[in-house]
């Protein structure tokens, strides 16, 4: 006799479904507003996770929308790229420097339905805030039990001061 009637799915299915939920929400945002360029930031040092989540979402949305993911990095003092840029060589993510982000966005705004711009934490890097101003709205990616109230509130304050709308938060654990 089976007393446990709850539906069980595998962990990979669970991950896939949770990403589909997030993709569906973003689809609703695009439908309801004119936003198509989203700045994706966080309060944590979680570049790999941000990139993974956004690329998975964009893959799921590609059936309905044409998506582009840009990684906006800040050059080092000597003009070279940060080390994590050289290590990350996924074709779906294009590395863009702050200086030419505006040009890249202008070129691609008509070509793609949705553009995600991965940014460093806005509460630490002022250049990220400058990049976020070029976008239509912002999405934060935070981790339960690790993201602090203090840093999150600071990010929201910076967004508010620069009239950047925050569409929502994607969380993970």
């Amino acid at each position: 006799m089976n007393f446990n009637m709850s539906y069980k799915i595998s962990k990979s299915q669970k991950q896939k479904q949770s990403i589909l939920y997030a993709a569906g929400y973003i689809h609703n945002i695009i439908s309801d507003t004119d936003n198509k360029v989203f700045a994706v930031s966080s309060t944590l040092d979680n570049f790999n996770m941000r990139k993974f989540i956004i690329t998975q979402i964009s893959k799921n949305m590609s059936e309905t929308y044409s998506c582009k993911v840009l990684n906006c990095f800040c050059s080092l003092e000597n003009g070279s790229k940060p080390e994590y840029i050289n290590k990350n060589s996924v074709d779906s993510v294009i590395n863009v420097n702050l200086k030419n982000l505006s040009n890249v966005l202008d070129e691609n705004r008509d070509k793609y339905d949705v553009i995600f711009v991965l940014l460093e934490p806005v509460n630490i890097f002022a250049q990220s805030l400058n990049c976020a101003r070029l976008c239509d709205s912002a999405i934060m990616i935070e981790r339960y039990l690790y993201s602090k109230y203090k840093e999150f509130e600071k990010s929201l304050m910076y967004f508010a001061e620069n009239n950047i709308n925050v569409s929502g938060v994607i969380t993970y654990i």
Binding site: K11, S12, K14, Q15, S18, I19, Y21, A22, A23, Y25, I26, N48, M49, K51, F52, I53, Y84, K87, N88, S89, V90, I139, M140, E142, Y144, L145, Y146, S147, K148, Y149, F152, E153, L156, V166, S167, G168, V169, I170, T171, Y172, I173
Partner: protein, 287 residues
């Protein structure tokens, strides 16, 4: 300070640091077990290597039953007979009897050597008299029963047994026949044990009898360590301290460094949670 603090946040923090807590508790258990084993090994080695800290103790028990009829006039006498019998064995007359007997078995030099650990005024074996028996023997009523307990001790097991046997001989052959019409004295058993202690067992019994009003002394005389109890105590105390410390630290971390732990924490800022991603496998750098 308490805006973002709640019991659920504390539980979330415990979940976050569960691995560290587990390691810390395991270390405390290991530390406690090491301390307990150390204590037990030290006890057994000290008993073997240092005879001065171990006493050979022999205890004999007797049942004292008055033969008089119990009526309301005799109840006091009935209750006092065991303590009176025990007191008889502490009299000088009994001590003289025992002293004579012990000098028939041992020479003065041997007795002097056996009692050398006592703080006596004897300077040489020929000075010996029966007074040293006060430090070697004690008799008392056992709790509120009709049993009396005779306790003898020294550092030599045979000497202890001989002293006890002489007191028993006095009780059975000298005293019992004189009160046979009124009192029935029955032997129960004798227990021989080694007690590891810095303090004399008889001295402890004498101290207790002085403290209490009644003539009986019922304190447990054995001070040898029970291995199971020692190990449980050695492990439990560090474990409880470790758990308390962990809870205090987690409480302070949650209080002074609050984190966003659930969907409702974001809704307080009027920001919708687009999705809660379940991460099955952490992504690699090239993924």
């Amino acid at each position: 300070m308490f805006e973002h603090f709640g019991i659920r946040d504390v539980l979330s923090s415990i979940k976050k640091y569960r691995l560290i807590i587990l390691i810390f508790l395991s270390l405390s258990v290991v530390f406690g077990a090491y301390r307990g084993l150390n204590k037990l090994m030290h006890q057994s080695s000290s008993a073997v290597n240092d005879p001065a800290h171990s006493f050979e103790v022999s205890s004999a028990s007797y049942m004292i039953n008055p033969k008089i009829k119990l009526d309301k006039d005799n109840t006091n006498i009935y209750r006092d007979v065991p303590s009176q019998t025990a007191a008889v064995l502490m009299t000088d007359f009994c001590k003289k009897y025992v002293f004579e007997g012990i000098t028939n078995i041992y020479s003065n030099e041997e007795i002097f050597k056996n009692i050398s650990y006592l703080d006596t005024e004897y300077e040489k074996p020929s000075d010996l008299d029966f007074e040293f028996l006060d430090d070697l023997f004690f008799s008392s009523q056992y709790e509120n029963t009709m049993i009396i307990k005779l306790t003898a001790e020294s550092h030599d097991s045979q000497f202890t047994k001989d002293v006890l046997n002489l007191y028993r001989e006095y009780l059975e052959k000298e005293y019992a026949p004189t009160v046979n019409d009124n009192v029935d004295i029955s032997y129960i058993d004798t227990v021989n044990q080694v007690v590891n202690s810095d303090k004399s067992v008889v001295a402890a019994l004498i101290e207790e009898s002085k403290d209490s009003n009644a003539a009986s002394s019922t304190k447990k005389t054995s001070t040898s360590l029970n291995p199971v109890k020692v190990m449980i105590k050695s492990i439990a105390i560090p474990f409880i301290i470790a758990v308390t410390l962990c809870l205090i630290v987690i409480f302070l971390i949650t209080l002074f460094n609050p984190t966003l732990n659930r969907e409702t924490d974001f809704l307080a800022y009027d920001i919708p949670v687009i999705g809660e991603i379940y991460v099955h496998k952490k992504p690699k750098e090239d993924e």
